[in-house]
């Protein structure tokens, strides 16, 4: 993946000067040249053109690959989620990529309510279904938790009548041809539980409806889970259906359009209200898995995006350490093919995954869990989905994705917004993922602010700087020398480092060199040589990456001595400097320039 990213970057870098060469050659061709010169020039121009063409093709290719890889990524996540939930044998999940369903072609899809109500009743023999929904769910912008909920209740339908393509995640060809295309993904979640009687199916998705009047008494729940799921799915332009047989089990299916954009700049920044899903052939507004980072970001971010993302990455990384059913989390690297956006897309996934982390990781099933075992949906505190799900014994794959993206280097602006989510997290007393929850609690507390590290040994300077930063609206972490700074960076992600140059133990220049070495190589070998222990490969430290670490802006704070000249600072890897004494204005300008 790195290679591809490098390729893309290099392609950009190469293209400019190359264009220069070719342009000059063309201009030269208009001047007075003798025969021989003209011939030589002709060769130059055609060669140059060829190379330019080649580079353009490479860029295009990497874009396509990026998309493909991203889809593959998403689907892999789905699968890993599925495995996670199915390992207990409670539910089965199936995933398909299917042709466009009839309802989509119909064009008019008005709002959530309506049309699918009728379709909700299908009593066909239990079908097999496949994998993970939760990931898909969690990717839906705006519906993170809910979508999980959604994934719990799932059935097969929607493309009733349309032939189903089984499990082939072969989207490559389709996309490659079109500038933008929609992939329909169907997910079936099924179980072998008590089933749902036919007469209950018509009202299944209605609010507050449960199979029977005393269902709640037996199984708990409020009857809202499915209604919400259905609403969510439909808002996203999909359909949610069920099929069931009493005593045999139920299958819930949802199908959702996933839009793949192959265009250069991801122009669908406009999250366009999900409510707006309706209808439309206008794919841009139809609900689709919103993997454009900006879109999701714009929905969710407040300030301090990257910190969030880093924290999420932290969470994700943490989850990494759990092996589920022998399925070992791989480190997915993002195809960095096309610069930021692609990366962000994937991190988007990661983030949604991380959001998924907020939600109870355990598969819900009324079998294995006691009613008060929490599988609290992180969605709404108001709705006790978990109970609902438990009660109705439906396949509930509310999931914490075991996605293992490390998104350190990506600038996704995602924030887990809903205050309820945060609160929900607090409430959760989930066992297995306790630490994840802890970190997500951290995340929820500190999400919106960029993380700033001040490396300064003078107490007074610390006090003044801290106070200034506070006035600027930032809280900062403080360490007193270079060694501590390195340690801090090993264990946390920072968006900005203010580095005093002259410090005891290890000065700012050396510290910066070590940090840059880590960013370039992905390891802390240089620091180890300088006597700083490498971070332990536990979940405490930032995940050792498959993706290169993000470059942190490091600002030198110099006392203007000769030895701290600007040149030397930049030679050691610093991005800029602030001369002491530090003033409000200097800090402000610095933050404006270097914080996202």
């Amino acid at each position: 993946m790195r290679a591809k990213q490098m390729l893309a970057t290099m392609s950009h870098e190469i293209r400019s000067p190359l264009s220069g060469v070719v342009s000059m050659a063309e201009i030269l061709a208009t001047t007075k040249l003798d025969r021989e010169q003209r011939q030589l020039l002709g060769v130059m121009i055609s060669s140059g053109d060829l190379v330019l063409q080649l580079i353009n093709d490479i860029l295009d290719l990497s874009k396509v690959i990026g998309d493909v890889l991203r889809i593959r990524q998403i689907l892999t996540n789905l699968i890993s989620n599925a495995i996670k939930f199915t390992h207990e044998g409670k539910v089965g999940v199936k995933l398909y990529v299917v042709p466009e369903p009839p309802f989509a072609k119909e064009g008019s899809q008005n709002g959530s309510a309506g049309s699918t109500a009728n379709q909700s009743t299908t009593n066909v023999p239990k079908e097999e279904t496949c994998t993970s929904t939760s990931q898909t769910s969690s990717d839906q912008r705006g519906f993170h938790g809910k979508k999980h909920e959604d994934s719990c209740q799932d059935r097969s339908q929607s493309e009733r009548g349309t032939p189903v393509t089984n499990g082939t995640i072969d989207v490559t060809e389709e996309q490659a041809e079109l500038p933008e295309t929609t992939v329909w993904i169907r997910c079936d979640v099924y179980d072998t539980g008590i089933g749902i009687p036919e007469n209950a199916l018509p009202t299944l998705f209605k609010k507050y409806m449960q199979v029977s009047a005393d269902h709640a008494r037996k199984y708990g729940g409020t009857g809202l889970g499915l209604a919400i799921c259905k609403q969510l799915v439909e808002l996203m332009g999909g359909r949610l259906t069920v099929s069931s047989q009493v005593h045999c089990g139920s299958t819930f299916t949802f199908i959702l359009p996933y839009k793949v954009s192959l265009s250069c700049d991801h122009s669908d920044d406009d999250l366009s209200d999900m409510d707006d899903h309706g209808a439309t052939d206008d794919d841009a507004t139809a609900g689709f898995f919103q993997f454009q980072p900006r879109t999701l970001g714009s929905l969710f971010s407040s300030n301090g995006s990257s910190r969030t993302q880093n924290l999420l990455a932290h969470n994700i990384g943490y989850v990494n350490s759990h092996k589920i059913n022998g399925f070992s989390e791989n480190c997915y690297s993002f195809p960095m093919s096309n610069g930021q956006t692609k990366e962000m897309d994937l991190v988007e996934d990661a983030c949604s995954v991380a959001e998924a982390l907020e939600i109870s990781p355990e598969p819900e099933s009324s079998f294995s869990h006691s009613p008060d075992h929490d599988n609290e949906s992180a969605i709404c505190r108001d709705e006790h989905h978990h109970n609902v799900v438990n009660a109705e014994n439906r396949v509930s794959t509310r999931d914490v994705s075991s996605c293992s993206e490390t998104s350190r280097e990506v600038d996704v602006k995602v924030k887990i917004t809903e205050p309820q989510l945060a609160a929900e997290r607090q409430e959760r007393s989930d066992s297995g993922f306790q630490s994840t929850l802890n970190s997500s609690r951290e995340a929820s507390n500190s999400i919106s602010k960029p993380k700033i590290l001040l490396v300064e040994d003078n107490k007074i300077n610390v006090m003044v700087t801290r106070s200034m930063m506070k006035q600027l609206g930032h809280t900062i972490d403080v360490v007193n020398n270079g060694v501590e700074a390195v340690r801090a960076i090993q264990y946390h992600s920072y968006d900005l480092v203010l580095m005093d140059v002259c410090m005891p133990v290890m000065d700012g220049l050396q510290t910066t060199r070590l940090i840059r070495s880590f960013e370039e190589t992905g390891n802390w070998d240089e620091a180890a040589k300088a006597g700083i222990e490498k971070p332990s490969p536990s979940s405490d430290s930032l995940q050792p990456d498959c993706t290169p670490p993000k470059r942190i802006p490091i600002i030198a704070m110099t006392a203007n001595a000769l030895s701290e000249s600007a040149d030397e600072c930049s030679a050691n890897g610093m991005d800029s400097f602030i001369s002491k004494p530090v003033t409000f204005q200097k800090l402000k300008e610095c933050l404006e320039q270097y914080l996202p």
């Binding site: 007074i460 300077n461 006090m463 003044v464 106070s467 006035q471 002259c502 409000f584």
Partner: protein, 154 residues
Amino acid sequence: MELVQIQRRLVDYTKSLFMEGFLDAQFLQLQQLQDDSNPDFVFEVVSLFFEDFEKLLNELTIALDQPNVDFKKLDSHVHQLKGSSSSIGAQRVKNACIAFRNYCDVQNIEGCLTCLQQVKQECYLVKNKFETLFRLEQQIMASGGSVPTIELGF
């Protein structure tokens, strides 16, 4: 004294500190950082500075008293003091430190000793000035007034 008089006195006094070079614009920065959520900020920082310089002056005296003066260490202490004084706007202390460092660079013990005296003097002078300032402020507060913000026309 009446409140208004004390307030005026405070203003004049502060101005004089600037005029005489005891304080520079950095002190204004500190004052800006004082607000309702941080009502004693200046006092706190300056107090910290007092502690800090006492310690450093002590270290410097000891260091210069050694048979083999460790100039690097000396320089490092002076650097600290320079940093602190600079951060709060104690201009004369800072300047004295700069001179001190120059002598450290050339490893001139005599020069260093002289500078140490100079720095000590400036530290205690500015401490005195600050204490007067704070006392005036306290008087104003005690009389129910508020400390006037000083408009300095630099």
